[in-house]
């Protein structure tokens, strides 16, 4: 019997697992996908918002502000790259100016450090901004990180401290018993005292497994993006927001922790939780809105497009509570933006909910294991040479665009969490995320994966189940092709 089963390995599930790992609890994380963090958390703006934006008094406001503060320490402890680069929210007309002043008040009420800044100041800091800008709101605590870096660090650490993580395990059914649940997946059945529903877009679906009254209705809103190549360091230096509207934060310009820039997202209601397509209309919308704020956008540097889907609910706030008619089923639903920024605080809240019901002791051997990932391209030459002597595979570059070596890829495959797919490797160590998008390195990575996992090349997946890259071997019987 598990004490706690967390459904979902997104940023919320991962933070919860990390927090619970320190107690004497038997904790299980179930994830339907092959790799962890392959849901909402992999496709968003990756901003740790400062917290001036959510309406004062909401859970979103409270947890965002708290979460932003908590990131400083947790990223340091776990050795995850995190930068507080600050943000400018910009007003270009009178109406927006008025809105912005209101936001400034929100900021004060939410307890967030912000400053109203004049045009000259903005243009000095961000010379590409259109000089029709009238007013800006500067928030120095706005941060950026790679959401999946965070997830890997949290889950590696949870694993070291005894949490069990089972991927490719889709929860199909939950049976409510007297004092526990029986969770059935496509692989197995697990008994557990608590269920934590951190299933992102599928939170309503999971809730309906235990009750006919979930208490909310899930909606889906898609956001589409462009990714620019690295190397446009002069384009922007801060997160740039337009003045938000009723529809949300609008189209942003966001430097990423790896030196790329994101342009987007759109905000469009869709029917389906897996409509992760990009559309012509959506992408044009992004360009038009970017062009209204800033000059000199290096569109020729576009290397990728993607979209993400927000798990909004009709309650318009995060839902973090024990289900009314089902004790020990803890709901973590409607975690839309700023869900990433709020995740450490969400996890803290869930932890406290359990602490209020149980008296828990911490594990006496609990320890924090910071990430030790070798990043060759960030090391000084002497250090690189020392590493190559130890392991010559650190000397072989596999990904040209991002300078990633074979040694780093093998490390990822054999990390505690283990990586099995091409996209998993890409998220964990970055090959394939550069300008050629895997055109050169994908066959090499596929080969390394097959070799290290001791499986056939045709078994290697791009990401989800069924996404095998190679469909059949042509030369099994020593045939020689025909040409």
């Amino acid at each position: 019997m598990y004490d706690v089963t967390i459904i979902g390995s997104g940023i919320t599930g991962s933070f919860i697992a990390h927090n619970l790992a320190k107690y004497q609890l038997k904790v299980l994380v179930l994830e339907k996908d092959v790799e962890v963090g392959d849901g909402v958390t992999k496709a968003n703006s990756a901003i740790i918002h400062s917290g001036y934006d959510p309406k004062p008094g909401t859970l979103k406001a409270k947890l965002n502000v708290l979460g932003n503060k908590m990131y400083e320490q947790v990223t340091k402890e776990l050795n995850v790259d995190y930068k507080r680069i600050g943000s400018y929210t910009l007003a270009f007309n009178e109406l927006e100016e008025k809105e912005l002043r209101k936001l400034y008040q929100h900021g004060i009420e939410n307890g967030v450090e912000t400053y109203l800044v004049e045009k000259e100041e903005i243009l000095k800091k961000e010379p590409n901004i259109k000089d029709t800008v009238r007013l800006g709101l500067y928030a120095p605590t706005t941060g950026i990180l790679a959401p999946w870096d965070m997830i890997y660090a949290l889950l590696d650490n949870a694993l070291y401290n005894g949490v069990e993580i089972k991927t490719s395990n889709e929860v199909l059914n939950i049976d409510k018993k007297e004092d526990h649940f029986v969770v059935k997946t496509n692989q197995s059945t697990y008994k557990t005292r608590y269920v934590i529903n951190a299933a992102g877009l599928y939170a309503e679906h999971i809730t309906r497994m235990v009750t006919d009254n979930p208490g909310f209705k899930m909606n889906f809103t898609r956001g589409e993006y462009y990714v620019l190549d690295r190397g446009y360091d002069d384009y922007v230096h801060h997160v740039i927001y337009p003045t938000p509207t009723a529809k949300g934060k609008g189209v942003l310009i966001v430097p990423t922790i790896h030196g790329n820039v994101l342009l987007g997202p759109t905000s469009e209601r869709i029917e389906d939780a897996d409509s992760t397509e990009v559309t012509k209309v959506g992408l044009e919308f992004v360009k038009n809105h970017v062009n209204q704020m800033i000059n000199n956008t290096p569109y020729k540097g576009i290397i990728r497009t993607f979209s993400g889907i927000r798990p909004k609910t009709d309650r318009l706030d995060f839902i973090i509570e024990e289900l009314n008619d089902t004790p020990q089923f803890i709901q973590v639903a409607g975690i839309e933006s700023p869900g990433l920024a709020s995740a450490p605080a969400i996890a803290k809240m869930v932890e406290e909910m359990i602490l209020n019901k149980e008296s828990l002791e911490t594990k006496h051997d609990y320890k924090i294991y910071p990430q030790k990932q070798v990043k060759i391209n960030e090391k000084p030459i002497d250090e690189i040479n020392r590493l190559i002597k130890q392991n010559p595979k650190y000397g072989t570059i596999i990904c040209r665009c991002e300078s990633i070596t074979e040694g780093e890829i093998i490390d990822a495959i054999h990390s505690p969490l283990g990586i099995r797919t091409i996209d998993g490797i890409k998220r964990r160590v970055r090959p394939g995320s550069g300008r050629c998008q895997g055109g050169f390195c994908q066959p090499l990575i596929l080969e390394i994966l097959a070799r290290e996992l001791k499986v056939s090349k045709t078994d290697i997946l791009l990401d989800k189940e069924g996404s095998n890259i190679l469909t059949e071997e042509t030369k099994i019987n020593g045939g020689d092709g025909n040409e």
Binding site: G395, C436, G481
Partner: protein, 418 residues
């Protein structure tokens, strides 16, 4: 810092090998050729069809056979070859940072450097094909590598977007390996591949070519299931009611190649936005003295013979630079004019040598007049039939034809004639 070379050539494809040969045969004593792969040859290794070498070796060779010829010639020289070695960066004062598993990270010095690192394929994201990010959409060159080097098919029912040579060749290749190829769509009203490839890869196998068509939709669940194409008008706007749907599990993209130039742009080498390669003079020298570029990393070639020829020259010039390092010449700009997309070189130095202008036309022309001008005066006119954007044109002239003491720019243009 260790080892001083006369010439360091980066990239061991057709261009790099030819360039190293050009350097060593023109007096460079210490030449280093660096290649990241486990063997020399570059993209030729995966081009197992024939049709290479008609101009250079007067024979029809396969890609690997062509590479073998250059390699054999190279191994007879004293060029030092480093395989499985990646160049991470070069500097303006001509050091080369390289890394491999045996020597580790090294910085070497060279008197001149030739960058011959080839090109990459444009991807789905760069042309903004709408739709989901499911599996089954891949560049044609990547599929070619999986098939020809690794021995695997990437799908059974295939559609191809773009009629570049790689797409055309893969249409035939996948067909021969037992896949169904349902068609090739091309945005332009003409193909972007060599004529002989259209005949030998599509017509001979009854694979339809849909000109003025583009992909307007892709659908499926975890893997591609359907591709929809539609006709476009002169302004590339989709015509309503012209869509056709194909049930396929694979869409291959042959939508253009982009010269690799990161090593060069990192040190502020000027780049031509049309070719995406460096601006070079008639020595193939970039705006940084002693740094040269050639092959597909300079501009995308359709025939390897031209790569070899051009790169041999660049190696020769790199050797000359390494030996006397003079660089005090007057250069006259060369520019594309009507109906010409780009010209290489981008400037020439007046002397009594010959120069070859290479260029591409902007649209197909049945008959054309190629005109080379300096300022307003016509230097040379050449009549030509069948000018195609897919086929690189070249004009060889003696530089003494140009006005020596004039700073007037040189133009290459093409006039359509009836």
């Amino acid at each position: 810092m260790n080892k001083q070379y006369d010439v360091c050539v980066i990239g061991g494809g057709a261009a790099g090998m030819s360039s190293a040969l050009g350097a060593v045969k023109n007096g460079a004593k210490k030449v280093l050729l660096v290649e990241r792969d486990i063997e020399l040859g570059g993209i030729l290794q995966q081009c197992i069809h024939n049709g290479f070498g008609l101009h250079h070796f007067h024979e029809e060779l396969t890609g690997p056979a062509y590479a073998e010829r250059l390699k054999t010639e190279l191994l007879e020289t004293n060029v030092e070859i480093k395989l499985e070695t990646t160049v991470l960066e070069i500097t303006k004062d001509k050091t080369v940072h390289l890394m491999n598993k045996v020597d580790g990270y090294q910085i070497i010095e060279a008197k001149s450097i030739v960058v011959a690192i080839g090109c990459r394929e444009r991807t789905r994201h760069q042309i903004g094909i709408p739709g989901k990010r499911f599996n089954g959409i891949m560049t044609a060159g990547l599929a070619q590598r999986y098939l020809n080097i690794d021995g695997y098919l990437v799908g059974k029912n295939v559609f191809i977007l773009g009629s570049g040579d790689i797409g055309l060749i893969m249409a035939r290749r996948m067909r021969l390996e037992g896949a169904n190829v349902l068609g090739v769509a091309e945005l332009m009203p003409y193909s972007n591949g060599l004529n002989r490839n259209i005949v030998q890869c599509l017509h001979d196998y009854n694979i339809p070519l849909y000109l003025s068509h583009t992909v307007t939709g892709v659908s499926g669940k975890d893997r591609l299931e359907k591709v929809t194409i539609s006709e476009v008008d002169e302004n590339f706007q989709v015509k309503e009611g012209t869509s056709k749907t194909f049930e396929v599990d694979t869409l291959l993209l042959s939508v253009g190649l982009i010269p690799e130039n990161k090593l060069l742009t990192d040190i502020q080498v000027e780049v031509n936005p049309i070719t995406n390669g460096a601006y070079v003079d008639d020595q193939f020298q970039t705006n940084i003295p002693g740094i040269f570029a050639c092959g597909n990393s300079l501009h995308v070639h359709d025939l390897v013979d031209f790569v070899a020829e051009e790169s041999f020259e660049s190696g020769k010039n790199a050797a000359k630079y390494a030996l006397n390092q003079e660089n005090n010449h007057i250069s006259i700009p060369v520019k594309p004019a009507s109906n010409v997309r780009y010209v290489i070189p981008n400037k020439i130095k007046i002397s009594d040598d010959e120069v070859t202008f290479k260029f591409r036309v902007t649209k197909p022309m049945n008959k054309g007049l190629i005109i080379v001008k300096q300022g307003d005066s016509v230097i040379k006119e050449i009549k030509k039939s069948h000018l195609l954007p897919a086929e690189m044109e070249s004009v060889k002239l003696n530089k003494s034809l140009f006005k020596p003491n004039s700073q007037d720019e040189i133009f290459v243009e093409v006039k359509g004639v009836e």
